[in-house]
Structure formats: structure tokens, C-alpha cells
Amino acid sequence: MSAQVLVFDILSVIAVLAALGVVLARNPVHSAVSLALTFVNLAAIYVILRAEFLAVVQIIVYTGAILVLVLFVIMLVHQEDLPEFHGGQPLQRVFGFLVGLALLGEVAAAILTRTAVGQIGPWTPQQVAAAGGNVQAVGQVLYSGYVLPIQATAIVLLVATIGALVLARPDAAILPGVIQRQVLTISLGHPRGDGDEEGYEIPMLPSGTTTKAEAGERELVMVKDGDEFTDQPAWGDRKR
């Protein structure tokens, strides 16, 4: 059995190190890769913990789907070189670190003094084997006691789908008719971000060109910030 422990420990250490990598890496892509490493390690640990089906799901869903999604997003959005551990809020970091340590201590105390162990269930390894393996056992449980949660989860996924559609679809795709009535804003002053830093200048149009021509049928308004101009009062926006 000690081999099992050894493997578990090795996998755990790698998982923890990879997790630290997620937090410490400067580049989000590195973080994502570290996260993938963690996930894979955890999948292996699931196997040790007699959860083979979940190990597979872990690989497929997390590593295969979620992380890929994250990577796509990382590629899509413009990545800035954020000075993660420099500048910013040192106090916040110190406190974050301390809170983590304290919570670790508290959870450790709970783990070490733990006596409350739940009732031992019927799914001994023998029973699982009798059912035909972990997948079959999980299937039996899910399709007897967990019918409603499965349906509900389906609805949750539906919600997520609709939500993602609503949030990420371009305007034109949602309401083609409305767009023409909107005044669009093109922020020329700040190509990126809306920081207050000086240094950006509104580029002058080359001589001989007219804004009307450049903008086509749309009215062109020059502002420093996308929020600065809308055709409606800025609801709820803080006027400063």
C-alpha cells in the first residue's frame, strides 16, 4: 500500500506546485498551462481514489473544455503586461497571503482533530466491481437518485448558454434593426483602456479627408473615452 501513498504524495506535490504556478506565473498562458497540469494530476489522484469515471470527466471537461475555452479567451482579449506583484496594493497581497495561511491553519486544525466520519456507505470496492466497475456504479446512482439534479443541471447549462450568447454576441447579431438608431462611439483618444494617463493625443485626420467620408453614413464623434459620449444620460454611471 505504501506505493499507493508514494504515488499519491508525488502527484499531490506536483499538483500543489502546479497550482502555485497558476498563482505565481506572470503570463496568464503559463497560468493556464500550470492549471492544466494540476487538473491532470488531480485526475490521476481520482483514479487512486477509485473514481475512474470522474478522472475521465475531469480530463475531458476541465482540461479539454474549460481550459481550452480559457485559452481562447486569453488569446481573444488583449493581454497587457500587468505588473502582478509589483506596485498595485502591497497590503492587499500581504493580507491575502495571511488570510490564506490562517485559513490553512484553521482547516488543518479541523483535519487533524477530525473525528466525525460519516456513515460507511454500501459501495465497497467489491460492490463496485460487482456492479461492473466505477462507471456503472456511478451510472446506477445517478439514474436512480439523481434524476432531478441532472435535469436541473441541464437547465443550468441552458442558462449558461443563453447568458453567453447574450453577453458575447455582437450587437448586430442581436438586434439588427436597432443599430441604425444608435450613435456609435469610436474612441480615438484612448486606443486601449481608459486610464487617465497623459501622453495620448487625439490623432489628426490626414489632410484632405473628411470625417463624414471616413465614417460613412454614421455620425463621427471624437471622445477620449467610450463612456464619455452616449446618446442617453449615463444611467447609474457616476459622473465625475
Binding site: 500500500m1 505504501s2 501513498v5 499519491f8 499531490s12 500543489v16 497550482a19 497558476v22 506565473a25 492549471l35 494540476t38 487538473f39 488531480l42 481514489l49 473514481a51 470522474l54 475531469q58 471537461v61 476541465y62 474549460i66 475555452l69 480559457v70 479567451v73 481573444l76 482579449v77 488583449h78 493581454q79 500587468l82 502582478e84 498595485g88 496594493q89 491575502g96 497571503f97 490564506g100 490553512l104 483535519i111 487533524l112 477530525r114 466520519v117 460519516g118 456513515q119 456507505g121 454500501p122 459501495w123 465497497t124 470496492p125 460492490q127 456504479a137 456511478v138 446512482v141 443541471t153 443550468v156 447549462l157 449558461a160 447574450v166 453577453l167 458575447a168 486606443p191 483602456g193 481608459d194
Partner: protein
């Protein structure tokens, strides 16, 4: 180091959970924060599966499965929001997003 005890996976779970939490508390990149939350969820899954292993129960495994499913849903919505933000503000720095305060 004779047997695999619950303490093993519990500490693993705790460590991952807390690393994830520290990441949420310290990082500025929205995407990284999001990944850290995923990490925390995974840590919880480790606990569930470990408890199931300890108690010869399938409940924990089932629960973990749902956690993964829900996490996926959350990922979709979360990334959607991040996309919308990035499109609108062209930033993923969480500290740059503070128009709403006080």
C-alpha cells in the same frame, strides 16, 4: 507512510483550495482569478471524492460530477462576461474596473 488516510487528500484539498483563494485575493488579471476559482472548485472535488473513497459512498462522486458540470456552466458565463468587459474596456486588469465604488 503506510496507508492512504483521509488526511492525505484533505490536506491536498485544503492546500489547493487555499492556493486558489490566495490567487483570487492577490492576482489582478481577471482570467487568472477565474482560473484560481476553478482551482478552488477542483479542490472541493478532491474533498468530495476523497470522502466518497473514505466512506465507500457514491454520493461524493455524484456531487463532484455535478460540481464539474456547474463549473463548466459558470465558466461559460464568466468568460462571456470577461469577453464583454474586454470588448468594452479593453482591459483584463481587475483594478482598472472600479467605476462603481463607495
Amino acid at each position: 507512510m503506510s496507508h492512504l488516510t483521509p488526511d492525505h487528500f484533505l490536506f491536498l484539498s485544503a492546500a489547493l483550495f487555499i492556493i486558489g483563494m490566495m490567487g483570487v485575493l492577490t492576482r489582478r488579471n481577471v482570467l487568472v482569478i477565474f482560473m484560481c476559482i476553478e482551482l478552488m472548485m477542483n479542490a472541493v472535488n478532491v474533498s468530495f471524492i476523497g470522502f466518497a473513497w473514505e466512506q465507500n459512498s457514491m454520493v461524493g462522486q455524484a456531487f463532484a460530477l455535478f460540481v464539474i458540470a456547474i463549473a463548466a456552466a459558470e465558466a461559460v458565463v464568466g468568460l462571456g462576461i470577461i469577453m464583454a468587459l474586454a470588448r468594452r474596456r479593453d482591459t483584463v486588469d481587475i483594478n482598472a474596473v472600479r467605476d462603481l465604488r463607495e
